[in-house]
Subunit: 674 residues, 2 copies
């Protein structure tokens, strides 16, 4: 039944029958694929809604991505704008609203290949940072698309360090205006999406100056293009920043401001206001800003990071049971490459990570919702913990998933390298997530700063937030495992992870203190510890991910085989981490060499167990062929036929002027002589 439904949904498969090498993998699933899909979606009703959205979007030819891999950057941009405009109509037709249950599935169904994403950030920044009057003026205009917004924060010379931004906004009391300038080339706004070619307005972040005094970074609404003819406004230079590794559909832009004047009312003034006489007034708590960053970092995990890894796993796993190469046993047919231990060792840990981080994401969402409720009650206590966890996990999950997609790509050999596999564009896109919304190393150091602070507090017997109370735990000095099966006990491996996180935090805290006590200045001491601080932050997140996965498995229904397979994946996720970072576990003798050999044995055993369910486990992600957009990963596994048919449509098979211009003259002398 589940099989039939999935089969029906894979409308992209025009080739018909399922490759028998793939079909056979589905016969022996140890669990209900349909139930696992519902678990991932958060309930069968959610699955139904999601599928309805996907069906509506993917059956509409305007949203087709069929020729995407053949298109130029200009064509991709135009298609994204076309889709964004069409989406308005579609939503109206379907009765979908921004507050409806369908909304969150639209972006996934479009694979993010749509313009005006920054328009939403423009609106959100006005909602969060604007006064009631500003919200009343701008939000309706934006909602009705009577303007197209963007968000101009990053500069050519400044990213993560906001205080360093060089754009200025000088208040002119005489005219009641702010005069905006990008005084140096490094102050030019650079990267804002939708700004290169589309936006009419943007929120510019600039250093506010009143009567010669700098008040720091503030946001200003600035019109950059005419609403009449889209020409640039006076004092504005703007354009597209050119080709990138991906995001061809987005017109990331640059913006130069030369004496651009905006009225006093255009400074977003929920928290700070400039009075007509130039008096600067602060009002309310700005902590909510802090919370917004947290929200953004958590929200990107699902669509921008987990979905690409799940797609890559789907493509690589299906391909690996269709591709046959060399013989495992002499005299037999060539083996499916997924039957090789080395191939299992590449793909299955990525699959386990996809599930692990899916549950981490649930955990973060829940924590975030709790934090939000507290903040509504003006209680900001949870903010530091939320900030530390969202920063750390943004870094750890993007890094892990990016590496995972690359492994999937490379595991498909030459065919993975073809754009038609879908894997290169998944990789080049997910890679950006390691950089945007906070560069990963900097985020990990923020988490580390929180850890060190909490470790000191906990050591002094002071209370610390729930996720770090373990730092004060009494340390076991030795792992109690006696044989390889003990390492399939969540208590055993969770405690090992905990031990490593404590050790790395405490030893780095000690090094930091030693350096400071020996006379090294605080900032130098910090810099000399940063490599180890990053390790501590990663270990902390890894511990929480393992612990959360184990707890999630415990709570799962025991029917339908789901708990059992999730337990295997949890074990694999945990043991793969120990196997690949064995030094951290061996270091102080917590784990002995003999125990590490048990870990290795259990880990390798698990590969063979999970391999049997590999295809059902990726089927449960429930991607349609259109959303995978891959010649290797389609539901029917007709890899070679699809590669061939697709390649024939490539523009590189049109007539090339190269023959008449270069090849013919070169070969000319020999015509009819051979």
């Amino acid at each position: 039944m589940a099989l039939l439904e999935t089969s029906k949904r894979s409308q992209g498969s025009v080739l018909g029958s399922v490759n028998p090498d793939l079909a056979s993998e589905r016969q022996t699933a140890s669990f209900s694929v349909e139930k696992l899909t519902a678990l991932l979606d958060g309930g069968a009703e959610q699955t139904r809604i999601r599928r309805a959205v996907v069906e509506a979007i993917q059956s509409d030819p305007v949203f087709s991505r069929e020729y995407q891999y053949f298109e130029t950057q200009n064509e991709r941009y135009e298609a994204a704008v076309r889709k964004a405009v069409h989406l308005q109509k579609k939503m109206h037709e379907m009765g979908w609203t921004e507050n409806g249950p369908e909304y969150k599935y639209i972006y996934r169904a479009l694979s993010g290949d749509v313009a005006f994403l920054l328009h939403r950030v423009f609106m959100r920044s006005i909602s969060v940072l604007g006064s009631d009057k500003q919200i009343a003026k701008w939000i309706p205009l934006a909602t009705q698309h009577r303007l197209i917004g963007s968000y101009a924060q990053t500069e050519l010379g400044h990213g993560t360090y906001l205080q360093g931004l060089e754009t200025t906004a000088v208040f002119d009391t005489a005219t009641q205006e702010f005069i905006l300038n990008t005084p140096k080339i490094s102050a030019m706004k650079w990267w804002p999406g939708d700004m290169g070619r589309s936006a009419t307005h943007t929120v510019v972040f600039a250093q506010l100056y009143i009567h010669g005094k700098c008040y720091g970074i503030h946001p200003f609404i600035v019109q950059i293009r005419s609403l009449q003819d889209h020409s640039l406004c006076p004092g504005i230079s703007a354009g597209d920043i050119g080709p990138k590794m991906n995001f061809e559909h987005t017109d990331n832009g640059y913006l130069l401001l030369k004496d651009v004047r905006v009225p006093r009312e255009n400074m977003l003034s929920k928290f700070c206001e400039v009075r007509p006489d130039g008096t600067y007034v602060r009002q309310g708590s700005q902590k909510i800003n802090y919370f917004t960053m947290t929200a953004v970092r958590i929200s990107l995990i699902s669509d921008e990071v987990l979905t690409p890894l799940m797609k890559a796993c789907t493509i690589a796993t299906r391909y690996s049971v269709v591709r046959r190469q060399s013989k495992l046993k002499p005299g037999e047919q060539e083996a499916k490459i997924l039957d090789y231990q080395t191939q299992q060792e590449k793909l299955l840990p990525q699959l386990a990570a996809a599930y692990a981080f899916h549950f981490t994401n649930d955990y973060l969402q829940e924590l975030f919702n709790r934090g939000y409720r507290e903040i509504q009650k003006k209680n900001f206590d949870m903010l530091p913990e939320l900030h530390a966890l969202s920063s750390g996990f943004k870094a750890v999950i993007t890094q892990h998933c990016t590496a995972g997609v690359e492994i999937c790509l490379r595991a498909c050999g030459g065919h993975g390298y073809s754009l038609l596999s879908g894997l290169p564009s998944l990789y080049t896109k997910i890679l950006a997530s390691c950089i945007y919304e906070g560069e990963n190393t900097i985020l990990l150091l923020q988490t580390a700063r929180f850890l060190i602070k909490c470790f000191m507090a906990a050591s002094a017997g002071q209370p610390v937030p729930p996720s770090v109370t373990y730092l004060a735990a009494v340390k076991h000095r030795k792992c109690p495992a006696k044989n390889k099966l003990d390492f399939l006990s969540p208590d055993i491996y969770t405690e090992a992870y905990q031990h490593v996180a404590i050790r790395l935090t405490s030893s780095t805290a000690a090094k930091l203190q030693d350096l400071i006590q020996s006379g090294v200045k605080k900032h130098d001491a910090w810099n000399q510890c940063t490599v180890q601080l990053v390790q501590a932050a990663k270990a902390h997140c890894h511990y929480i991910a393992v612990k959360n996965f184990a707890e999630t498995v415990e709570k799962l229904e025991t029917k339908a085989g789901i708990q059992k397979i999730m337990k295997h994946l949890c074990d694999l996720f945990a043991l793969h981490g120990i196997f690949s970072n064995s030094g951290a576990f061996l270091h102080d003798g917590y784990t002995s060499a003999a125990q590490m050999d048990m870990v290795t044995a259990s880990y390798l055993d698990l590969l063979a167990v999970i391999r049997k369910d590999a295809v059902p486990l990726v089927d449960a992600f429930d991607f349609t062929d259109q959303s995978l957009n891959s010649a290797l990963g389609s539901y029917d596994g007709q890899v070679y036929q699809r590669l061939y048919e697709w390649a024939q449509k490539s523009p590189t098979n049109q007539m090339s002027p190269a023959y008449e211009r270069y090849l013919k003259p070169l070969l000319h002398n020999t015509l009819s002589k051979l």
Copy 2:
């Protein structure tokens, strides 16, 4: 003086003065950059010849790569063909010949961005596999470009496992012809370069059948396109396989053969001949084929793997002293990002690896030349060792350098993600080297097979090749280091690497034997050990690379500061490997936790030392601005100006139809209302 010369050569810098943040880095070099360049080139005379070639190529506008990042796949292909044709003329003009000293620098000077590379493989395969008569017929035609050759081995369904190829060549005694067919879709030739659009001929590898009996894989010369009008020959379907992650300039192709007949003389017959009556005759030793694969794997390391890593290091290092971000010390100017320990820890180990593998490549070249001399004397004894080392190092170096380029890219934040940085295309191109000429995992398993065999032989007291005699060495049970300075002793760390390589090889050999003795079939046992066999092969190569680097440093001249800085890099390369794979060294207690802390301390200390010479160390690679083709990496460090100027030239800044078609109607209702 050295500075002046380099400055003079960077013709791409039209902006003029060197960024003072970059200039200051060059004032304090601890060694002579010019002498280090000469060392890398193999002598000052080689440097002179190389620079002359680079100057001749890069001053010729036909070879320009200025608009490369803006071009479509079709434009890239046409440019590559144009360049290949022009190169013939250029070589004639300059008096360069294929046997001259300039030849090896041409490809590097062109950054590989040229067509007809497979034409050379076509010629080589005829020279190696053809009879004297065949050579006499085809080589002159190819040399004069009276045909364009390709090399059709890989199939849609088969790569590394050649015995599995499905293309057939059936001998027809009646007509004295071979009839070639690709009987299934998976048998279609897929990937051959220059075949999609350019080639007129190719060497097809097919299963030979005579009187119904299969004789295995043989090579056949097949004409695929007319020399009159370039139309496909009867029975041939061929075309381009479409977009890839890189190699846009190459027309990788597909080829279907349907009853294509070629005369008996077209089977390359140096080693095997089919007589007119269908008698199959073997002649001579085919071991030379084996040697050819070795030659190819070693030859790609320099241009395809080391050069990209060196370029990436140059770009990322120069950018990291120009980019300033956040403050290290309160109240001071923002710091150069290379002053952060975390940034040093990203970039400097890659720099050390680039030097380490440069010397490994010298070692492999020397070994190869020795092997070649022996083979001329009909002595094939060195072949297994050469095969094992070339396979293992091909895998280890491509893997390490690919990861290194990615680290450099990510270390440049958002700007690294722009194609204009040059880093994305370096990454997407070097990535392919992990797959072509033998997939890395398979190659490492070949090395492992050799290791296991030699370990068994050595254990039994039998003689083994020089590179593996250490496997029989008496094992020290403990690392003798007493303090962190001891870890700057090559003896200490080389022995640690040796210990790990022995331990991983011996323990895996033991596991393999145990499994077989417990009744597991040999091929299953092998498969169950492959994850660990791969580890052993990597450890072996890593050991040899460290040992060779240390020995190279020892032999260097002590003047001009070169030996000293190379010693630092050698230490960094070795300690970074221990730091990042600490589990392997801690496992059996060879290295204690206290010693591992010493390694960490020495490693982190080295980062700060080498950081001072980072820019001179990349300057010594001596890349011109044109060959870097990077807005971030130019010799003058005028990063922001160059990004801005370059972006303005992007086709994405031309008028887009999207405004009239989509944006204007969307915004229409609001015209003049805001």
